[in-house]
Every structure is written in structure tokens, then in C-alpha cells.
């Protein structure tokens, strides 16, 4: 009884210890682009509705015109183009001779952003003939094309890379004939799939069957909107970035169910259902693990999460505290399960016996499912990088330096991609090492191990963020990095070298030797 009461007591105590409410209580959103509005809330009815109001970000030195929409609410609009400015700032609202300032102890994290896609389209619309919506649509299409065009190539390259990795891990070469050392194999396979006959089973639902792969592609493609490849290389830094990510990836689940069900084949349906059950189950620990990071950063915006980390490994979220460390593994394994990768590929590999949801598909429609699967690996890598591995952050480099030297932004991009590929390598490596789980074992792992641990991480993170003083936190981060980063890494490298040392290579046929690459 007592053990269950003390968390409650802690919360009440915290509430009592909360500081006095300042006149300006809240302002949101704190990240504005041209044309956007900010709502400032006061803790008491302070304003006259009617006379003009100004809202100032003190630390940034920017003043915005505003108007009071209610005695305790003011709306400010960012009319002009603003140079990109960001910082912790108090907010001062002035009306007439009155001035009210928010609490200096808890400044707002204000960011005024550079012009976005919509602004680009507005510029076109202003200069060129035609309706504005046409230019907006064009701008959006252009952005979509830039993001989508490399996707098949990315998928193809990852496929070839996986085959080469699996080859070398299996003591053989992967594809090494098509293109330089085999790196154009994806082109050959893609063209072959395109040229195959497009079969739609007569018993299948014609529209849904055709639509399902495109839904999957849609769900995957949408995730690229919020992935921050560098400080500026992001399509849209949504305030609810993480939530958006989680939502659109569930489109993939929907497409799997639709694909399996519309095939009108008992086995495809069962395979689809099983796959969907797996993905839906593992959404829970994955989401809660992500919540842990969101708790740590205080924001769902992906760019914000990256900005909260540093360039050095001990500044990454991974080593920040034990809870984020465990959350990483929970999230990573859940992401593997959601992506149907070994050791969770039973819905696919059961095609030994039971065909998966994509049995009845052929040709181009079929090629979309593996494309989605492989780009999903890249997305897993990207999400892991931005959440846990510091994203595009470079050591010694902060935002001001990036603005001063744009080539550092490109460096950030390269760093992000490198970390992404590192995670992709680990995903591939795991696939080619481990056997696969049985369905019931997989479910038991999720419900009996991951979900409890993920909730523990979340609640623990709440406590950590709230209670841990910064210096002690940094020390813990350092210790975690030393023990798990350096220590475990060193142990692992030692095991690899031990394995390498024990193996005696053997060539029995001297004449033949080994073939060359």
C-alpha cells in the first residue's frame, strides 16, 4: 500500500513547490514562419480588447504587432520576412503604457524561421501569372519530386548493399557482375520486375488490390517530410513531427491488411493479419520509447530533438541517462519488428509454408513492397539517428557557426547519412546473424518484456528530467558513455578480433586458390 502511494505524494509535493504564476503564462507556437501567428496567454485578464498591442522577444530584439482577442489572450503575427533567429527569450507584451513580461526563470524557446516552401510559392505567384494555388501546388510537387525521386535508387542501393554484406558475412561475394563491382544490380532487378506480367487475380478486389502497394509507398514517403537531414535540409519541421512519423507509418500497416485481404486468398489474408498484428503490437513499445525522448527534449519536433543533442557521443541522447539508453534498444528492436526484418520476419518467411500478404502480387506492384521494406530500413536508421545518435550535430559546431559557414551544413548532412547508414548496417547485420522468432515468442517478447520496460523508461525519464540536476546528469552521461560506449564497444571489438584470430584459413587446391573479386 505504501509503495503505491509515494509516487502520488511526490507529485503533490512538486505541485506545491511550483513557482508563482507569472503574468505571461504561455505562448504558442514558439516557432514561427512568415505569415504565422502566435497566441500569448496571460494568467489573468490583463488586456483591453481593441487598442494595439505589441509582443517583443527580448533576447532576440524582435517586436511583432499583435491584437488582443480576449482580456487574457493576445495574437501576434509575423508579417515580415525574418532572418533566422532562435534563442531562449522572455516574452514581453506591451499595450499602451503597460508592460508584462514572462518569467525570466523559464524563458521560451523562440525560433523565427527562414522562409519556407509556401513563401517560395508566394514569391512565384507574385511574380508570375496564374492563380496562387497553382504555384503552391507546383512548389509542393517540386519538393515531393526532390524527396521521392531518390527513393527507388536509395532502396536499390540498400538492396545491393544488403546482398553484398550478406555475401561477405557468408564467406562469398554478393552481386559483383552488374555494374562496377555489382552496384547496378538494383537497376537490373528493377527493370526485370517492371517487365513482368501484371497479374491481378480474378477473385481479388480490383481497386483495393491495385491500391494497396501505393498506400504503403505513400505511408513511407510521407515520413521523409519530417526527417532532418541537416539544419536546413528538412521539408517541413512540423511541431508534431514525431507524432506525424508514428501516424504515417501506420499507413503501411493498413496497406498490408488491405493487400492481404483484397487478394482474396486465405493464406494471403492470414499472412497479412499476422503481419499486421505484429506491427500493431510493436507500435506500443516503439511509441513509448519515442515518448521518452520527447519527454527529455520537451518537444515533438524532430529538428528540436536534434538541436537538443550535441556533436560528441556523450552528448547524444543515447548516453544521456539509463532510461534513454534502454529506450534505444526497445525502440530499435521494435522498429525491426515493425519493418518485418529478421528476427521478426516470420510473416514473410512463412512463405515456406504460408504465403505472406504479397503472394498474389507480381511485377511492378510487387516491387513496391520490397521497396517500401528497404526504404523503411533507411527510415529506421534516420529516426534512430535523429532521436538517439545526435542527428546532424557536429562537435564544436553550433547553429551560429553553421549560418556563418554553409558548407558545415553539408557536413551535417554527410554526418547524418553516415549515422543512418551505420544503423542500416546493424539492421542488415542482425538479419544475417540471427534466426527468427516464432509468432507466439514474438508476441510474448513484446507484451511481457518490451512494454513493461518501455513504460518504466518513460516514467523514469519523467522523473529524471524533473529531478536530476544538470551536473549530475552530465556525469551520468559520461559514465554511461564510458561503460557502454567505450567499454562494450571495446569488449565487442575484442571478441571480433578473437574470432578472427582463431580462424585458420585453408586452401586445399593450390592450383585453383581462391577466385579473385
Amino acid at each position: 500500500m505504501k509503495a503505491r502511494l509515494w509516487p502520488l505524494l511526490l507529485i503533490v509535493a512538486a505541485g506545491c513547490a511550483a513557482p508563482e504564476l507569472a503574468p505571461i503564462r504561455d505562448a504558442r507556437p514558439t516557432r514561427l514562419q512568415r505569415g504565422e501567428r502566435m497566441l500569448v496567454e496571460a494568467s489573468a485578464p490583463l488586456f483591453d480588447v481593441g487598442p494595439p498591442v505589441t509582443v517583443t522577444f527580448d533576447a532576440l530584439g524582435v517586436t511583432l504587432p499583435a491584437r488582443a482577442v480576449a482580456p487574457d489572450r493576445v495574437v501576434a503575427t509575423l508579417d515580415e520576412d525574418s532572418p533566422p533567429l532562435a534563442g531562449a527569450s522572455t516574452i514581453t507584451v506591451a499595450q499602451g503604457a503597460h508592460r508584462w513580461t514572462s518569467d525570466a526563470r523559464t524563458p521560451f524557446d523562440v525560433e523565427l524561421c527562414a522562409p519556407a516552401l509556401q513563401h517560395l510559392a508566394n514569391g512565384w505567384a507574385a511574380r508570375l501569372p496564374g492563380p496562387a494555388w497553382l504555384w503552391w501546388a507546383l512548389a509542393l510537387l517540386m519538393a515531393a519530386a526532390i524527396v521521392a525521386a531518390p527513393l527507388p535508387v536509395v532502396a536499390g542501393l540498400i538492396v545491393v548493399w544488403e546482398r553484398k554484406i550478406s555475401g561477405y558475412m557468408g564467406s562469398r561475394f554478393g552481386p559483383n557482375r552488374v555494374g562496377p563491382n555489382g552496384w547496378l544490380q538494383w537497376l537490373a532487378d528493377g527493370l526485370k520486375l517492371l517487365m513482368k506480367e501484371d497479374i491481378v487475380p480474378s477473385a481479388a478486389d480490383p481497386r483495393l488490390f491495385r491500391a494497396a502497394p501505393y498506400l504503403a509507398f505513400l505511408g513511407l514517403f510521407l515520413t521523409f517530410i519530417v526527417l532532418p537531414f541537416s539544419r536546413y535540409a528538412i521539408v517541413a519541421d512540423l511541431d508534431v513531427g514525431l507524432l506525424f512519423l508514428l501516424s504515417v507509418t501506420s499507413l503501411v500497416v493498413v496497406s498490408i491488411i488491405i493487400g492481404g485481404w483484397s487478394s482474396n486468398s486465405k493464406w494471403a489474408l492470414l499472412g497479412g493479419m499476422r503481419s499486421a498484428a505484429q506491427i500493431v503490437s510493436y507500435e506500443l513499445p516503439a511509441s513509448v520509447a519515442l515518448l521518452t525522448i520527447a519527454t527529455l527534449t520537451g518537444s515533438l519536433s524532430t529538428q528540436r530533438i536534434v538541436a537538443a543533442q550535441g556533436g560528441w557521443p556523450w552528448q547524444w541522447n543515447l548516453f544521456h541517462d539509463p532510461f534513454t539508453f534502454v529506450a534505444f534498444f526497445i525502440w530499435f528492436v521494435s522498429a525491426l519488428a515493425e519493418g518485418n526484418r529478421t528476427p521478426f520476419d516470420l510473416p514473410e518467411a512463412e512463405s515456406e509454408l504460408v504465403a505472406g500478404y504479397n503472394t498474389e502480387y507480381s511485377g511492378f506492384r510487387f516491387s513496391l513492397f520490397p521497396l517500401v521494406e528497404w526504404v523503411n530500413i533507411a527510415v529506421i536508421g534516420a529516426v534512430g539517428t535523429l532521436l538517439f545518435l545526435g542527428g546532424w550535430r557536429l562537435p564544436f559546431v553550433d547553429n551560429a557557426l553553421i549560418d556563418a559557414h554553409p558548407w558545415l551544413d553539408a557536413c551535417g548532412f554527410v554526418v547524418f547519412v553516415a549515422k543512418d547508414l551505420a544503423i542500416v548496417f546493424v539492421v542488415i547485420w542482425i538479419r544475417w546473424t540471427l534466426p527468427r522468432f516464432r509468432v507466439d515468442q514474438m508476441m510474448s517478447l513484446c507484451w511481457k518484456y518490451f512494454i513493461p520496460f518501455s513504460f518504466v523508461c518513460f516514467v523514469g525519464e519523467l522523473g529524471w528530467v524533473w529531478l536530476m540536476p544538470p551536473l549530475a546528469g552530465r556525469i551520468v552521461a559520461g559514465v554511461l558513455f564510458a561503460v557502454f560506449g567505450v567499454g562494450f564497444g571495446g569488449w565487442f571489438v575484442a571478441r571480433v578480433r578473437d574470432n578472427a584470430r582463431r580462424y585458420h584459413d585453408l586452401i586445399l587446391n593450390d592450383a585453383l586458390g581462391r577466385g579473385d573479386a
Binding site: I165, G167, Y168, M169, G170, S171, R172, F173, W429, I430, W432, T433, L434, Y449, F492, R495, V496, R497, D498, N499, A500, Y503, D505, N509, A511, L512, G513, R514, G515, D516, A517
Partner: protein
């Protein structure tokens, strides 16, 4: 064992064993792969790198073959065929064929051969019939896997061995390669077969000029017989389906031209209906009989042309053209 470990113990065991496994595969990742990339990226041709005892294609050195037929007798699968004749007071072999497609490469024929030999380049002695290191024989024609060690029409005299001598024999594999080359290009069966395939096979047979002409003459006789039996063609109700002249001709079409399956693939309910339509002139397409195929098209065209009064030669030409147009 895992029972006693408990919740956290299981996690620890899983982490440790998974890490060990990952270390093994990563260590392998950095080693040189063991693949030998046949056929173009090997240090020496694979054929030359195989061990000396490799049991590949058989070859017979006809210069030292005594025609004892021991290999033919001992072969468990009967793939060796040897014909020996007496010419004068000499024994000659007119045929020495080994079907390498059926051979199971067991080497028993080699063991039964009584003639030892020493091949150049070999450390161990061999025999008159021996297995080589040749193995590349993939072909699309089964008959080109029959190795003929005696060229047809060029018999080989049997060798009379000297007691105790071990004759020299060419390097193993050379004879096999030569015989294989001959088999794949000079094999008369294979040659004719492949020619026929190039010409279209069955279609070429069916549309051969002389064959079609012969058939046209045969059918011409039957057409005139049918017409002779019919009443006058200018009968008043010649358009009626039960008129005799078209009837007989339709019966001829069914009997000589169509497949008589009533399958309906031609679009008509029965063969007879199709034939009636052709005879009455309602149906112009003569290649509709699917089970009948090219033969049906040819024969029906012949019949129709002959009925119109063409000569057998003209009918044959027309039939060949029509058949090739529809079935090539």
C-alpha cells in the same frame, strides 16, 4: 537451464549470445570470401585444377584398345556400345559409342579395362579407357552427349598388346575434348534434328512442297468423288443446309481436315457445323481448328481450293501460303 534463469537472466543470456553471434559474423565479414568464380575469374582453368583422379568424361585411346569389350560388359548401366567385325583376319571396331548423358561416372569400366597405359603429365598410371577432368558438356541436344570414339565409316583395328609393356597415351582429356566437339557438331542425328528445329520442325515437315503436292493429289481424288456422288449442283434449293452437294463436301472436310473433337474452339458448336459453314461459303477463315493445327489448315485449304476447281499444284501453293501465314 533457461527455466532457472528468470526474467532478467533470460535478458542477459539473450544479450550475451546475440553479441557473440554478431561478433562471429562481423569477423567473417572482413575475411576474404572463399568463392571461386567460375568460369572467368579463376587463376587457372578449372579443368586444369581438378585432382588427377577426377571422374569426368570418359575417353578411349583407340590406338591401344584391344576390343575385348570388358568395359561394355562391366558397365552397370549399359552405356557403352561396341561393334566388332572380322575383316580378313583382323578384328576391327566399327562402333565405339559411350552415352555420357546416361553414364553415372562410376569408373567401373576403367577398372575392368585390361590395358594399362601411362599418360603424359600424370603421376599415376591409367588405362586405355579412362576418365578425364573434362566436365563441361552442357548442351541442348541430348544426342550430342553420345561420344563416338570410332568415326562412322572409319573402323579402327584392334590393338595387339605386347606382354608387359605399358604403352604411352596422350595427355588425358585431349581425346575427350575432340570427341565432344565432334559430338556437338558432327553428330548426324543432332545435325538433322537441329536443322529441323531451325526450319520450324513440324511445320516445315507439313509444308514441304512434295508432301503438300502429294496430299493435294490425294484429296483431289476424294473431292471429285464427292462431287460425282452429289446431285446436280444447280439444284433449286442449293442454299438449304440439307442440300447434298455441300453435305458431302462438308463430310469430307470433317473427315479429312478437322480434328473431330467437337470442342467448339473454332467458334462453331460442332465440327460439322464449321464444315457446313465452310462448304456453304459462310465461313471464310479456314485456320480456326485449334486441335487440328497446321495440318488442319493445310488440308481444309486444299479441299476448298480443289473444290473451287484449282489444280493440285495451285491448291498446294495456296495451302502452303495459308498455312505458313497462320502458323509460323
Amino acid at each position: 537451464m533457461s527455466e532457472r534463469r528468470g526474467y532478467f537472466g533470460k535478458i542477459a543470456v539473450a544479450a550475451r549470445t546475440v553479441s557473440e553471434g554478431l561478433a562471429v559474423t562481423l569477423a567473417q565479414f572482413f575475411r576474404r570470401p572463399t568463392t571461386v568464380q567460375y568460369p572467368d575469374r579463376t587463376r587457372v582453368p578449372v579443368v586444369d585444377s581438378l585432382p588427377e583422379r577426377y571422374r569426368g568424361f570418359l575417353e578411349v585411346d583407340m590406338d591401344i584398345c584391344t576390343a575385348c569389350k570388358a568395359c561394355e560388359r562391366d558397365c552397370p548401366i549399359n552405356v557403352i556400345a561396341i561393334d566388332v567385325e572380322k575383316r580378313g583376319n583382323e578384328r576391327v571396331m566399327t562402333r565405339f559409342d559411350i552415352d555420357m548423358g546416361k553414364c553415372m561416372y562410376c569408373g567401373i569400366c576403367v577398372e575392368s579395362c585390361p590395358v594399362p597405359a601411362q599418360a603424359s603429365g600424370d603421376a599415376e598410371p591409367t588405362k586405355c579407357i579412362r576418365m578425364t577432368r573434362e566436365f563441361e558438356g552442357a548442351t541442348s541436344e541430348f544426342s550430342s552427349l553420345t561420344f563416338r570414339f570410332v568415326k562412322p565409316g572409319d573402323p579402327v583395328a584392334a590393338y595387339r598388346p605386347t606382354k608387359g609393356a605399358v604403352p604411352a597415351t596422350p595427355k588425358r582429356g585431349l581425346i575427350a575434348r575432340e570427341v565432344r566437339r565432334r559430338a556437338q557438331s558432327g553428330n548426324p542425328l543432332a545435325f538433322r534434328w537441329s536443322l529441323a528445329q531451325q526450319a520450324g520442325g513440324a511445320l516445315a515437315e507439313l509444308t514441304r512442297q512434295d508432301a503438300v503436292l502429294a496430299r493435294a493429289e490425294e484429296l483431289a481424288g476424294k473431292v471429285s468423288a464427292a462431287s460425282a456422288n452429289a446431285p446436280n449442283a444447280s439444284a433449286p434449293n442449293a442454299s438449304a443446309p440439307s442440300a447434298n452437294a455441300p453435305n458431302d463436301f462438308a463430310a469430307l472436310i470433317v473427315g479429312e481436315g478437322l480434328a473431330k473433337t467437337d470442342c467448339g474452339k473454332c467458334g462453331w458448336p460442332t465440327c460439322r457445323a464449321y464444315a457446313d459453314a465452310i462448304a456453304a461459303g459462310r465461313e471464310r477463315a479456314l485456320a480456326r481448328c485449334e486441335p487440328g493445327g497446321a495440318r488442319s489448315t493445310r488440308d481444309v485449304t486444299l479441299l476448298v481450293q480443289l473444290r473451287k476447281g484449282a489444280s493440285p499444284a495451285e491448291a498446294a501453293a495456296q495451302a502452303i501460303a495459308t498455312t505458313l501465314r497462320h502458323h509460323r
